[in-house]
Symmetry: D2
Subunit: 291 residues, 4 copies
């Protein structure tokens, strides 16, 4: 594989040669049912940052634009308002479809990028193949475990860190989990926008075999891109390359994990419902944790 | 009230003079917990229609526009794709914020429209006040109960119909329910687009006291606007006027209820997670039913 | 007229009760022909600033957004590129339609704003009524005449200043002229963006009778809004109120007048060709001076 | 050159290895001055079709989208309106930048497409290199010369046809001319939209040496793409390939030539002022003919 080292990690063919859902196949009804039974208090958390012009956004993408059409008349005394929104599918809190990233002209499961990625949309592995991600969400609160307000730019989180943090939280990682890694970095978003957009702490390549051996459905974080780098744009995004393209795993980005962490809620029913956008490479989301 | 007759129905002031959430206040942790326990099989349903240029959309609104930025280079061998989406906040399957509709210059809870509805957004009752709607979803499958493929354009569903259908389905309507009314009209969407966009069957004004007395959180349907009319634009939208503006109840539109109906799933955990769009009058959604 | 003082200035009814072109009626073929004969050297000047995300734009308007669809395939070896542009009709160098500004619910020539200004567009006096403005352009280079690099924020230019400057330049103002006032303020755009967006030098209300008595077709400047104010948003825009709404005169904004000034070109054939945008309140333009 | 046959036609290097303006270099002050002297009557023609959602647009491109922000308040009694426009740079009546079309990874003058055409814009030969096209416009009214209302779909116009038509009109083609070819096809636009979007009459490859030998600056027509084809998308666009990429000549599309033809105006001062859009592959235009 030359300079891209995926350690032989792959889920290609595992769910058939035509599969376009990747790790979503792991979410059986049994897992969903067990996750629903995690709801003990009936407390609902929205894990979304505000979706707005000045919300978190990968540098280089255009800012969200919204105009409100106000005071449309309806009948003799009534009026309505509506908005036009212009945004990237990867705006604010969002998830990547497994067509979002690739190398060597092949998407997840071997589909050719040159045949399937077009100006009009992506023909395979697009977000429309994800009706929803519903399962057990696990918060690994690395910042709290490390005793810091937030990790530093460029600070790597390893598979061993994830294991130790889970153990300290008394959490056993299970097949089909959606793992949310809290670095504290979203606090930097409001404190120092320039720093937030210069790089980030996050998981590194050691996490890739861990994702595969635990059969994780998705991994998210409170930063732009889940993985670590010390400048933007980074030279490479090795976790994107392997997790999305080789393993068909969903990356979940710019999450707000502050309330879950404050309440020490470490496992919960997680419902992620991407917009059912035809042929899109991702979607903004409002992920809902129910504890 | 002159020509707008709301029968004295109002929730203004009920949750305080500054309340911007309306019926969402009804969803207590107890209700959420009970709804989660409705999950028996672990089966997940997306109730969204495809969100695309040719998806369901109120005539007069512009069609959704999407362009894909393909093959952005990242590192020596990797590439990524992303999309730009331009859409109304009321595109496809969507929910109305309780600032969406008003009369006599007053929004829900008495806020002045002339002060709060601006080209830059709506300052009160906007969708950002809805972190999520999580509770018991109830399907009232009127089309099946009436023994028709779909109701006819302009055919009204009354409060009495809702009661009889619930009774036939062995469902007791409860405080805090989110009620989804199936008219079968979404079948017309694929069969006859012109007819679909000419009017619709739906609930009429008799349902307003029913919504209030049952303390319903939201009411949805498989059509443009939940309520009945025989031409587009209709002369008035009386259910919008009273449900949104007087009662602070959420309207849920263009739902795909076919799979729930086929499986005869009449109660379920329902999770609706609008995009956390600042100052917007609504949001496209991908509602998730879990049974 | 209460707080809005238009000194009885009005062109309403002058060109008929249905007129939607205002001062454009002044441009007779005779004037066009004479203007064409001003071309002596055959030198062409574009008076447009770059139309781009970081170009001049009234604070509060969203920045222009452009994405390029690149490398669309056409045939065995050929490709093409195209762009999607999202912008305000009043972006960068632009002209105001005479429906852009009004007071007391009446547009130029007495049309009711409440009936003609809608979310879907403006039904009267929109930019589509301006096929082109072709006539004699006159540069009044106030900054050079005053011997300053640029006038100061909040510094007013009076009718008397215009007359003295014209006289110093040996220019006689004529019926049908399009007058471009150079304040030097566009130099501030590249030097100090924050100052540029805080207010501007420009003409004040004394110019309104001057515009009327000379029968000027349009007045432009190298700033956001032609007229003077010392903060943004200003409390009022009296020149907009009277020139656009009472006189039906065209305002021409964010012009680049540097090259004309450097060459001391004070009269020229001026061609302004707004996009033929149906029902729009203005258009970005690339004004062409030919000397 | 394999299947792309350009007969050795090329202007690469002619105006220097860094030139990004192509045939625009031909327009000397002398030519501009002579063109201005063609103005005899002072009559002004806008050659633009309406720029609107249902205006002429290459099938496959998204339709123009416009929303009007109405009734923004300014001061105690005044209001303003503005619009947001979303459009392709190749919307309605428009011109192609000479970066719009290429083959074998090389743009006009040999710049590499793979290095210069990006999602963020085109770095060479973009429309910003065209301050304006000002020169002699020549109408070759082929439909009138052939005695037909309009040519037929797929009907080719040859170099010989252009010569004969010019001769019949007593026009001598000169270096630096901008040639507008009237096929009558724009009449089909209002009569039969489906036919208009199925193909078109236009010039064929025989015109390429003619453009080169006459040193034409630009060639336009009253159709989508100047050149002939009998289906959309066509298999190839050979005139685009050679005129734009090999010769650096400007293509001018979807012109409204009806008024010029009705008045038998065959030569005129032509002013084309593209929006000064940074790094764009073209621009909508409102071309102005002055006779």
């Amino acid at each position: 594989m030359g300079d891209i080292e995926n350690n032989g990690l792959s889920n290609w063919g595992r769910w058939g040669s035509e599969d376009q859902q990747g790790s979503l196949n792991l979410l059986t009804p049994e897992i969903v049912k067990k996750a629903a039974h995690l709801v003990k208090q009936g407390k609902v958390y929205s894990l979304s940052m505000p979706l707005e012009t000045e919300g978190p956004l990968w540098p280089g993408r255009h800012k969200l634009w919204k105009v409100t059409m106000h005071k449309t008349t309806s009948g003799p005394r009534a009026h309505s308002s509506d908005d036009t929104v212009i945004m990237h599918s990867h705006s604010g809190t969002h998830m990547d479809a497994i067509c979002h990233f690739w190398y060597d002209d092949q998407l997840y499961n071997g589909f050719k990028a040159s045949e399937n990625v077009t100006s009009a949309g992506v023909l395979r592995n697009a977000i429309e193949n994800v009706p929803a991600i519903v399962g057990r969400g696990v918060l690994l609160d690395i910042a709290t475990w490390m005793g810091v307000e937030h990790l530093k730019i460029g600070q790597a989180i390893t598979a061993d860190d994830l294991d130790q943090c889970a153990s300290a939280q008394n959490i056993q990682i299970q097949l089909g989990d959606i793992v949310l890694v809290r670095t504290g970095w979203m606090r930097v978003f409001s404190q120092d926008r320039e720093l937030f957009n210069s790089g980030e702490p996050g998981v590194n390549e050691t996490v890739l075999p861990w994702l595969k051996s635990h059969d994780i459905v998705g991994i998210g974080a409170d930063n732009h891109a889940v993985e670590v780098f010390d400048k933007i744009p980074p030279d490479r995004l090795p976790v994107h390359e392997c997790a999305i393209r080789d393993l068909g795993i969903y990356l979940l980005e710019n999450f707000n994990l502050e309330a879950l962490a404050a309440d020490k809620v470490h496992e919960f029913l997680l419902v992620i419902a991407p917009l059912h956008l035809t042929s899109a490479a991702g979607s903004p989301i409002n992920p809902i944790a129910i504890a």
